[in-house]
């Protein structure tokens, strides 16, 4: 598909998008009789055959519970989970697998930090600082915590381009700031936050930094040690892995000092009715049978992404975004929300007089999947005084031809409602 217009963008050496697309069986699906153009990658990504195979292989050949039995299947399942944890550690550049907690997704990871670290460390009058571009999952857990503790939720707002002004951010930090919660990449606008610098500023006042990395890990290499963040959460399903699995990274000293999040099996060393001794990291935070297939599938997804290379992915997507921004901007009456100089592959836009839901239904009939609505980021919508936007979000398997299909589709919507 891409070959027609491939010349308009410069793909990095060794990056063959047509070849990559063959790894994703769903990309051969027809939707309403049209080839699927999947541009809703910020909601969830498609799965390569390698991930699907890993799930089938586990359930077909070694389905068993982990850390329990002495039998062979349990040993194999346990070893597969351990290997996946090591892959995740390496992927995040964490020091130790003790710092890699398997969670349900970024949302649960953020809730874990709020409920465990937050409840143990916040008191009345303390402050939690969030940004104006957060997803609801990085607002609501902190709101709940602040309500419980009598702490204040402070917001640093974004400017007209969708960027957090760093002077405002610095000014919002005080000695009362205990937690700074930030998205690495905004799901609604694509803005990339300078996390390393913001973390440095936050650490100067002694605050801990919690990063929602759900939209970052599929698009760029992430090194938690270089960023020096205290916590970093992401979801497997946005990284071409299964739903229901994600990772919370936390600095070991912090995790060690934190109380458990949930009680149950696996997170204990010994239990009597008088007293329970908790297990060591990372198991202290992993009560109950984990999503074993999900963990194995996430490991396969990390392998897959590594094999393409996040540097090459980032370079290709930057070119694709540049092209898409250019052609979408040519549409009459269009307004792109979020024009940050540092942006990941999201175009969020509104059209004069045409509601995003009508655009979404039209595009769907053409086989084009986009997200319409508030993107679980209502404060961002309020900031731009819109109820909803249409969002096209790209992955490395998207092509120039698909961008052209999107633009042609939007023109058809405009003709219809003209």
């Amino acid at each position: 598909m891409s070959s027609v217009r491939a010349e308009v963008i410069e793909a990095p050496a060794g990056f063959d998008v047509d070849r990559i697309r063959e790894d994703f069986p769903i990309l051969r699906e027809l939707v309403h009789g049209k080839p699927l153009v999947y541009l809703d990658n910020a909601a969830t990504t498609q799965k390569p055959q390698a991930v699907i195979d890993a799930l089938v292989d586990y359930y077909t050949h070694y389905n068993a519970n982990v850390h329990r039995a002495v039998h062979l299947l349990s040993t194999r399942a346990t070893e597969a989970c351990d290997r996946a944890r090591e892959k995740a550690r390496k992927f995040m550049h964490a020091r130790s697998t003790n710092e890699i907690i398997f969670v349900r997704g970024a949302t649960q990871g953020l809730n874990l930090v709020a409920q465990s670290f937050g409840r143990a460390n916040l008191k009345a009058g303390d402050e939690v600082l969030v940004s104006g571009l957060e997803h609801h999952s990085n607002i609501v857990p902190w709101q709940m915590l602040c309500l419980e503790k009598g702490a204040h939720l402070k917001v640093v707002h974004i400017d007209d381009s969708g960027v957090i002004p760093l002077a405002d951010f610095e000014a919002a930090l005080t000695e009362r700031t205990k937690v700074v919660a930030l998205a690495h990449v905004s799901n609604a606008l694509g803005t990339v936050n300078p996390i390393a610098y913001m973390t440095e500023l936050a650490h100067r006042v002694g605050a801990k930094v919690v990063v929602d990395g759900a939209q970052a890990v599929p698009h760029m290499p992430v090194d938690v040690r270089a960023l020096d963040v205290d916590f970093y959460a992401f979801s497997g399903h946005k990284l071409f892995g299964p739903t229901g699995i994600g990772v919370l990274y936390g600095k070991q000293a912090l995790l060690d000092a934190m109380p458990p999040f949930e009680g149950g099996g696996d997170m204990i060393r010994s239990v009597t009715f008088e007293k329970t001794e908790y297990n060591t990291l990372p198991y202290k935070f992993e009560a109950g049978t984990p999503d074993i297939a999900g963990i194995i599938g996430l490991g396969a997804a990390i392998d897959y992404v590594n094999q393409i290379g996040l540097d090459r992915i980032a370079a290709y997507e930057a070119e694709l975004l540049k092209y898409a921004t250019h052609v979408v901007q040519q549409l009459p009456g269009v307004r792109i929300l979020g024009q940050a100089p540092e942006k990941a592959s999201v175009i969020s836009f509104v059209l004069e007089d045409i509601h995003p839901h009508d655009i979404g239904t039209f595009l769907d009939q053409l086989g084009i999947a986009v997200r319409t609505g508030h993107h679980c980021a209502q404060p961002v919508m309020d900031r731009f005084q819109v109820a909803a936007t249409t969002r096209a979000s790209f992955a490395f398997y998207n092509t120039v031809a698909e961008v052209d299909a999107l633009v042609a589709g939007i023109r058809k919507v405009q003709e219809f409602f003209a």
């Binding site: 045409i354 839901h357 508030h374």
Partner: protein, 147 residues
């Protein structure tokens, strides 16, 4: 694109571009706010009930073509009706959108929404105005939501 023209029938496009009864009432007796959390659409509905009938009705708000047209056609449909008659129309309208049956013969212009049935994600767009009407008739002062 024939299925799309089934959804966006001419009457719907017309009412979405030129909504009837949009505005506010000076002497409203009943009002309610509706909200569709899925897309962020909001609607304010005002009614003036006089002698047991809807003497006047007006709405405000922003929404997609389906929800705007539905609000416009709803306000036309309930004018002059008693609250009970209005609720009966809502019931028939609801089954038009959710059940695989022919539209009730007395639905009139509202039958143009029959195409919405094929788009389950859009049913809430078409019913927002009616849910809001229901709340206004009950004089429920808390905002209603399609969720």
């Amino acid at each position: 694109m024939s299925t799309l023209s089934d959804l966006y029938q001419e009457t719907i496009v017309d009412h979405s571009k030129r909504p009837r009864n949009r505005g506010t009432l000076a002497h409203a007796t009943h009002s309610a706010e509706g909200h569709n959390p899925l897309c962020g659409d909001r609607l304010t509905l005002q009614l003036e009930i006089d002698n047991g009938r809807v003497a006047n009705v007006a709405f405000q708000g922003q929404g997609c073509a389906i929800s705007t047209a539905s609000a416009s056609l709803m306000t036309d449909a309930v004018k002059g009706k008693t609250p009970e008659e209005a609720e009966q129309i809502f019931a028939k309208f609801h089954s038009l959108l959710t059940e695989d049956k022919l539209p009730a013969p007395d639905l009139g212009k509202l039958a143009v929404f029959s195409g919405v049935r094929e788009y389950p994600m859009r049913v809430k767009c078409a019913t927002l105005a009616w849910h809001t009407l229901h709340a206004a008739l009950q004089n429920e002062h808390k905002p209603v939501s399609t969720e």
